[in-house]
């Protein structure tokens, strides 16, 4: 049991981060697309489509970070200082876009600043999340169990590419979300935004799939050696099929399927990342076992997760269900 605890926790944190990326992804995506909204009413509409959810969505980020600290304190103590600059810039971006939800409506008609804050904050947060992802994948300099690199180690062409990948990925989630939630003008335009976002996201997926095995031999080994390759070839094939499906559903005005396909694309990306990095918590040196908290701590919190997570998922679903259906114009701000 004790041997599997860190693996279970690795899975839980992966799940929390995945849920974060999917949930906050669409509302960050709406923020990223915000400048493309044509009129004041349209932008109101876009913001109202995510206003009841964003706060709950963002809580998954705290669970992801907090869970990492709970289950892998020494990994947390290495990754956070290593990603110091992008993490803090991300937090500052989240501050701006988070307060914009209320400030924008309260400050009307002088709300230009908060239009900008919402869009810029969302873009900065998404980009920085990509930088962190890229930075961790590229490997962190560790000596004696502590971060030993410089403040700009995270910054690399690969990381910057991941930053842009995150922006277009979230834009895809955001635009398909808008197709689901809104009728009329915004939904039509969202369909037009979804297409380039999807194409760019695919380009990014291809680039990462080529880039990571090229610079990390152990990742190449994981994917292309027997017997793994007999199963793993399915991952890129399924990804390509899902992308094709998404393209058709966006084109054919099937919002729900388009949104589901975008989510599936993200899930496949995560599966790919998981295959590439497992069991490393701090690539390329420390595994989930090296960085795990003592079993007493992992068990104590695991108990809480097992009790609370189903309840959280239930009431989260309930709130989404409460606000189901197409958003009516003017509905939203309390």
């Amino acid at each position: 049991m004790e041997h599997y605890l860190p693996v279970i926790w690795g899975g839980l944190i992966g799940t929390a981060i995945t849920l974060y990326v999917l949930l906050d992804g669409f509302d960050l995506g709406v923020g990223i697309l915000f400048p493309f909204g044509k009129s004041e009413a349209e932008r109101d509409h876009m913001m109202n489509s995510v206003a009841p959810f964003w706060d709950g969505n963002e809580t998954w980020l705290i669970l992801g970070g907090g869970g990492l600290w709970v289950a892998f304190p020494s990994a947390y103590a290495i990754i956070m200082p290593a990603m110091y600059i992008p993490v803090i810039l991300m937090l500052l971006g989240l501050i701006f876009r988070g307060v914009a939800f209320e400030f924008r409506f309260v400050s009307k008609p002088h709300h230009r600043l908060w239009d900008f804050a919402f869009a810029a904050g969302s873009i900065v947060a998404a980009f920085c999340q990509g930088l962190v992802l890229g930075g961790v994948l590229s490997g962190i300099d560790v000596v004696d169990g502590k971060f030993a690199g410089g403040p700009f180690d995270f910054l690399s062409p690969f990381g910057i590419m991941c930053g842009f990948g995150m922006i277009v990925g979230y834009a895809l989630l955001g635009s398909t979300w808008l197709m689901v939630r809104i009728e009329g003008g915004v939904a039509d335009r969202a369909r037009k935004w979804a297409f380039p976002a999807l194409v760019l996201l695919l380009a990014f997926i291809v680039a990462v799939s080529i880039w990571t095995p090229l610079i990390h031999p152990h990742i190449a080994d994981r994917w292309f050696s027997a017997p793994n390759i007999y199963v793993l070839w399915l991952v890129p094939v399924v990804t390509a099929l899902v992308a094709l499906f998404a393209m058709r559903k966006i084109d054919g005005h099937h919002p729900l399927s388009a949104f589901a396909a975008s989510v599936a694309l993200f899930l496949l990306c995560f599966l790919g990342l998981g295959i590439s990095t497992f069991p490393y918590m701090v690539p390329p040196t420390l595994t989930v076992w090296d960085t795990a908290a003592v079993p007493a701590s992992q068990l104590f919190t695991l108990f809480g997760v097992l009790v609370m997570l189903p309840i959280i998922l239930l009431y989260t679903a309930f709130v989404y269900w409460t606000f189901r259906g197409k958003l009516q114009p003017g509905e939203g701000y309390h």
């Binding site: 206003a51 963002e58 809580t59 709970v70 200082p81 209320e102 403040p151 007493a296």
Partner: protein, 466 residues
């Protein structure tokens, strides 16, 4: 230029926590106040409570937003700026924060959606339930934070293995000795803080002759609560102080600027300038025997002084001494305010005494100031330890260069400066508009509505839209 990462990280943490603590303290109380109003509305069917609930929900939304975004920052700062702290005590402290996320953050953040946007989507009883759950979430969040913080003040239920703290007994860790009194003290402080804001807002409307019915409800409910809570808070504060005296004698010595542990009886230092060089107080004004009475509950009792521990284990004395005095002084002002209010109410002169309402209309910040002062007392009083006796603050910092910390500190100052100035400005604007629906006409008509009580203060008081 050479930047000291420890000092800068401390400033950064103090800065971000000072801004953050203001909003949860307010929203813990506000959520409970809104839930109470909704409950009273459901029970009495009186529309006044409904309108008040909806009005304060708008203010709650703006404050809560700022609390959330500044709170996310804190949750990540443990790792970014204090990674050695995260590593050394992560096995013990992180699960407490984990439980905060699981039991409190999700609850409040998710039901907030229904609370703010669900008025026309769910039936009133369900909306009331959502508000109660948000209030519960905010209070549970305080529970876990105070639990983690109390453990850092006096760590128990753990052992050190290979240089990291390992949990032995979770119940002992969660309910460490100073926790119950500190939690009661903090939660009550939050309710008092909000009640003073509501009282001040009500008094202001009353003096302006606007929203008279709502103002009366606000004043009576807030003052009624304060009459109960402020004396109770004195008791909680005293209890909390006794626990600190028992478990953190050095902190109490700093709070009292008490240097010599052999001194008996110990006088109460009313005012002084603690001098760390000479290890004594300059220009002290003292009252004999009082500190002995307060700390040991005996006429001649003595208690440990600062000189009983080596200089490197003492907290900076002056900030602890002064912030403690500010907190207690503000508490005494609150006590005087509620006593006068109770007497006026008893004599049915509460609403005819313009001077009293005018005074309380300016007292809205008093709870915030007391909370920040109290927080400084307890946090600076723990120094130089981040976890008392286990980990020094200087050893808890991340291996991040001072230049990075200086840059992000500057960014935080700029961003918080912009965001929070606007936030406070918007809250103030919402408060000025008052509890009527946003249309300008309706708030005007309420101002002109005939008032059953005659009072003159309305004309010379603050004008709407000022």
């Amino acid at each position: 230029m050479d930047f000291d990462p420890v000092l800068l990280s401390r400033i950064q943490f103090a800065f971000t926590v000072t801004f953050h603590i203001i909003f949860p303290s307010f929203t813990i109380g506000l959520a409970a106040w809104i839930a109470t109003l909704e409950g009273m509305w459901l029970w009495s069917k009186n529309e006044r409570y409904h309108k008040l609930a909806r009005f304060w929900t708008k203010i709650f939304a703006v404050s809560f937003g700022m609390g959330v975004v500044s709170g996310v920052v804190l949750s990540y700062q443990f790792g970014t700026n204090w990674s050695e702290y995260s590593r050394v005590v992560g096995n013990v402290v992180a699960p407490l924060i984990g439980y905060e996320v699981l039991t409190a953050f999700f609850l409040e953040a998710t039901f907030l959606g229904i609370m703010l946007f669900g008025w026309n989507r769910v039936p009133p009883w369900l909306h009331f339930t959502a508000s109660v759950l948000v209030a519960l979430g905010t209070a549970m969040s305080a529970f876990w934070i105070l639990s983690a913080n109390s453990w850092m003040q006096y760590p128990v239920g753990y052992s050190m293995q290979n240089g990291v703290a390992v949990p032995e007994d979770w119940l002992e860790i969660i309910f460490s000795p100073t926790f119950p009194t500190r939690f009661a003290h903090m939660l009550t402080a939050a309710y008092i803080t909000t009640a003073f804001v509501v009282l001040a807002a009500g008094a202001r409307y009353w003096l302006q002759g606007r929203h008279i019915d709502h103002a009366e409800t606000m004043i009576k409910m807030a003052l009624g609560l304060l009459i109960v809570l402020v004396p109770l808070q004195m008791e909680f504060g005293d209890q909390s102080g006794m626990k600190v005296a028992e478990y953190q004698p050095t902190k109490v010595a700093a709070m009292e600027a008490h240097w010599d542990g052999n001194e008996s009886p110990v006088p109460f230092v009313l005012f002084a300038w603690p001098n760390e060089e000479t290890e004594s107080n300059d220009f002290a004004i003292t009252i004999p025997h009082v500190a002995s009475m307060l700390i040991t509950r005996t006429w001649d009792g003595k208690f440990p002084g600062l000189k009983d521990v080596p200089a490197e284990d003492r907290p900076p004395v002056a900030p602890v001494f002064f912030s403690f005095r500010i907190m207690v002084g503000l508490g005494l002002i609150m006590l005087a305010t509620v006593v006068v209010g109770a007497v006026l109410w008893w004599r049915r002169r509460l609403f005819s005494t313009g001077l009293y309402l005018k005074t309380v209309s300016y007292m809205w910040p008093i709870g915030f100031l007391a909370i920040v002062a109290g927080w400084y007392t307890t946090e600076i009083g723990r120094q130089p330890w981040v976890v008392h006796g286990v980990l020094r603050t200087a050893d808890a910092v991340s291996p991040v260069p001072g230049g990075s910390v200086a840059t992000t500190l500057a960014l935080f100052v700029i961003v918080y400066g912009i965001v929070f100035s606007f936030g406070i400005y918007y809250i103030n604007r919402l408060l000025r508009r008052g509890p009527e629906p946003t249309g300008e006409g309706s708030s005007e008509s309420s101002a002109r509505r005939p008032i059953s009580f005659a009072h003159d203060a309305g004309r010379d008081a603050i004008q709407p839209g000022e």
